[in-house]
């Protein structure tokens, strides 16, 4: 009787267990870990934006100096009367 019950139990639950075995957690399963991941993603984007702003400022500065140098060079060209 016990064997029969365990066999019926196996038939009933085995498919669910097989499905459960296929479900793979692609992210860490705990809520705490997941919230830490999303927080880190937000911080990562903030860092990217800050870096882009810094590079943009640096590029502006470089372009300003280059324009100034080009203008200076133009002014130094002797004029032909």
């Amino acid at each position: 009787m016990g064997r029969l019950l365990s066999f019926i139990g196996f038939l009933l639950f085995a498919p669910y267990q097989l499905c459960a075995a296929l479900k793979i957690d692609l992210l860490p399963p705990s809520g705490y870990d997941r919230s830490a991941i999303y927080l880190n993603l937000a911080l990562f984007w903030i860092a990217i934006i800050v870096l882009i702003v810094l590079i943009r400022l640096k590029l502006h500065e470089v372009e300003r100096v280059q324009t100034m140098e080009a203008r200076e060079k133009e002014e130094k060209i002797p004029m032909l009367d």
Partner: protein, 353 residues
Amino acid sequence: MSCRRLKSWIEDRYDVDGIVELSRHKLVPVHSREIWYYTGGIVLFLFAVQFLTGMALAFYYIPYFEKAHGSIIEIVTKLNMGWFFRSLHHWGAQAAIFVMFVHVFATLLLKSYRKPRELLWISGFCLLVVSIFFGLSGYFLLWDERAFAAVRVATGGAGNLPLFGGFIKAFLRGGIDVTGETLVRFYAFHVSVLPILTLAIVGFHILLVQHHGMSVPISQTGKSKEVPFFPNILYKDLMIWLVVLGVVVTLATLLPPDIAKKADPLAPPPEGVKPEWYFLFLFQTLKLFPGKLAGMNGETIAIVLISLAVLFFFLLPFFDRQSGRGNKSPLFTAIGIAYLLYFVVMTIVGYLT
């Protein structure tokens, strides 16, 4: 050893200042179409991401058919940040192939392939083919039922090519059918053959870019000005790379790729299985052909026609004589648009059906 002494020690053995000087004097044209020229740099950046994440994954992946699927599950579920590296590798690959397609079509429509840059086009095209094979071989390493079915279809399709088809199929599969031998073979391609080929082709491509300089579209000739590559263009590249890195990391975090059931060579292919998005246009084209056409195998005819179309695409710079002379060539612009439309429409149709 102080920093200055170390620098002079290196200087005595190699002319590092020469490289610095070269980069300072390298000028790059800027014009209204310059945005498309950054796609090459993005691909290079994504390749670097792929190399780094791939190396990390290779430490833990087991290229044996009984353990491959399990080792990936272990990487994802047990290793610290393993899920992230795998996901980043997946999305990095998708992004690299997508940007490479954009780069190819931009080159095609801006006629950057024109004389004397034909070899740039040829090397770029070879790089696209290598990248697609990278994608296919990497996909198969999962050893799940979808990847198994996709590789069986892809290698079977290659087998339909006349003359060398049978040899290519057997060479790729390492036997008659897709088996554990194929997994070992694809692993060898993915981690040794293709990376070396990629490095060689990328090196050649960059050497040619350095030699010829950036091309200027015919419509922009005389309208562009030149700026130094270092630091102006490098700063712009850095900003774009940061955004690309952000997008890829976000996709990797929010949409980690799933893992299907372990492949069973004896099981029938799962229903509704589709290849990766960059094969969808081929998949959809094959569907257009009936099983038999004029007494011949329809699939063989389709494969031959596709091969001819790809060959024409590959040799396009040699047919387009007008742009080589610096004239506009609307016929080849139309051909380029036709190729692009076909690719986009067939990919969308393949995705939706």
